[in-house]
Symmetry: C2
Subunit: 345 residues, 2 copies
Amino acid sequence: MGLRDEILEQPAAVQRLLDSAPTAFAPISAALRARRPRFAVIAARGTSDNAGIYAQYLLAIRNGLIVALAAPSTITLYGAHPDMTGALVVGISQSGRSPDIIAVIEEARRQGALTIALTNDPDSPLAEMADHVVDVRAGPERATAATKTYTTELLAAALLSSALDPPSPGETADLARLPDLLSAALTVEPHARELAAAHAQRHRAVVLGRGYSYPSAREWALKLQELALVAAMPYSAADFEHGPLALAEPDIPVLAVAPSGPELEAQVALLTQLKQDHGARLLVISDSPAAREIDGGLALPDGIPPWLAPIVEILPAQLYAYHLTVARGLDPDHPRSIKKVTETR
Amino acid sequence: MGLRDEILEQPAAVQRLLDSAPTAFAPISAALRARRPRFAVIAARGTSDNAGIYAQYLLAIRNGLIVALAAPSTITLYGAHPDMTGALVVGISQSGRSPDIIAVIEEARRQGALTIALTNDPDSPLAEMADHVVDVRAGPERATAATKTYTTELLAAALLSSALDPPSPGETADLARLPDLLSAALTVEPHARELAAAHAQRHRAVVLGRGYSYPSAREWALKLQELALVAAMPYSAADFEHGPLALAEPDIPVLAVAPSGPELEAQVALLTQLKQDHGARLLVISDSPAAREIDGGLALPDGIPPWLAPIVEILPAQLYAYHLTVARGLDPDHPRSIKKVTETR
């Protein structure tokens, strides 16, 4: 089992979590009904932090909850005791072993806040510390770079949102279609391999996304950094216009995640400007032919519900990062310097 | 008046805001005494967002408040109405004209939350929308890249924290010493110019900071991106160890902001590892000779109080970015493609 196998396993991993959801989330739904949170705090690092950003958007849009992404060092380094009374506090960690994430949950529990761990190890210290645990059921992830734990963490966040406010019949159908959508997204692999081979000499990149697709841009950039050793700079498209737009030039390709949704029109306008005025070379992951045809693109299947788009749209990005790594003569299964469990305090 | 003049003007700008503080913050102190917030929400973009991250750390550590950095597109693109009841909601914008920041304040005010604008234009739409306005008194900022509006926004955040919980006599003395500390930090300019001249061919960089210095790393990277067109990737040192550490190599210099404080020891250990094991070339802004002498460094004055360090430590970073821009044959006063007011929605 290497990284590519784990990428290809994601439809099955997502199906496993969906199958377990009614049982796994029943006590969480009950707890959330008993005390509706005033706001939420999410503690996570690295790939899991990108899942946390998705949760930040989803819980704001779907549940009307303000979500703070915790700065764990305020607690671990500075001894802060920020008031989490009445909050829902979620720790996300594939290993469940990051001491600083555990410290946030510990402080929240001490204060009596409702705490939930989303983790791939239900026996981990994080799981033991939290009131409730969601096993994301990705199965053993042997590759150092996280892929199937990321998509299952995203789905766990969507299921947590559904536990707060029950899904409509349409949303329930959206969830059930996810494994098929993920399988369809994986069919882009030959095209991703071909583009990656052509891009093997690229050492820098800007990666853009907006709204729900902002965490996808960050996660794509992280995979490019840790696997293909590309100096990839992720931005929300809005922040990019506030300064780093100066970087746009033919030598710095622009990668973008731009699915159909309320942010598509502005993204297409920005990408067209980058192509026409700055000569930027583009690679756009989108279901919209108009977005892909500004320059280069990787196709997403039709009919992705915007609220679940991050779970689908990251797959072409993972495949591109994998094949770019291979094309650059690097080992995707053993990237240099990365530890699977990082014990920052 | 060019960018360099505005960098050098910062001790005076900070003095102006300090002088105005007793009057400017009196009504805010009264409002915060009348209704102590449960948590805080900060809306900002670009450089101002980095000031918001400082506020996130400071309000957690000094005031025990959880701070959420708003995702404005949840409101502007997705029509969300996240519950800000009982929150302190702060909009930070030098121009006060970013529609998405105004939209967050408008939504908060509609919900009856306490709203405050930190802006360099007290007649701006943002200022008109908020319950209270702090004029950061940076004076006209003509250069496109924000410098003195950044440091005054940071100070405004520190004064907001002081309005929530009055400063101790020691903290009051810390604030009064700021202009002198900023003047002392500027004396590093000849060294910054010399290093920048030697680094003119560097096109990529990793920029690290942790805790209070994380926003400094982000702001340094942003200046390098928008002025010197360097592909600069900022990380909290903790997140960097979760994957992007793979990027460390002699070709990608590592810049770091590592002042004395609880995060110094871990930062020195990481930087030493990057130097010894990865051959990384370092440039460390620090008051600690041990941190600077791992490889290259720019000195900070002694005696900077950790809670105010971001206001001081960004000055050598600005000077380095300015001189690197000049050394690369670019125009620091008219960087390409950046608009002073960015009207993202």
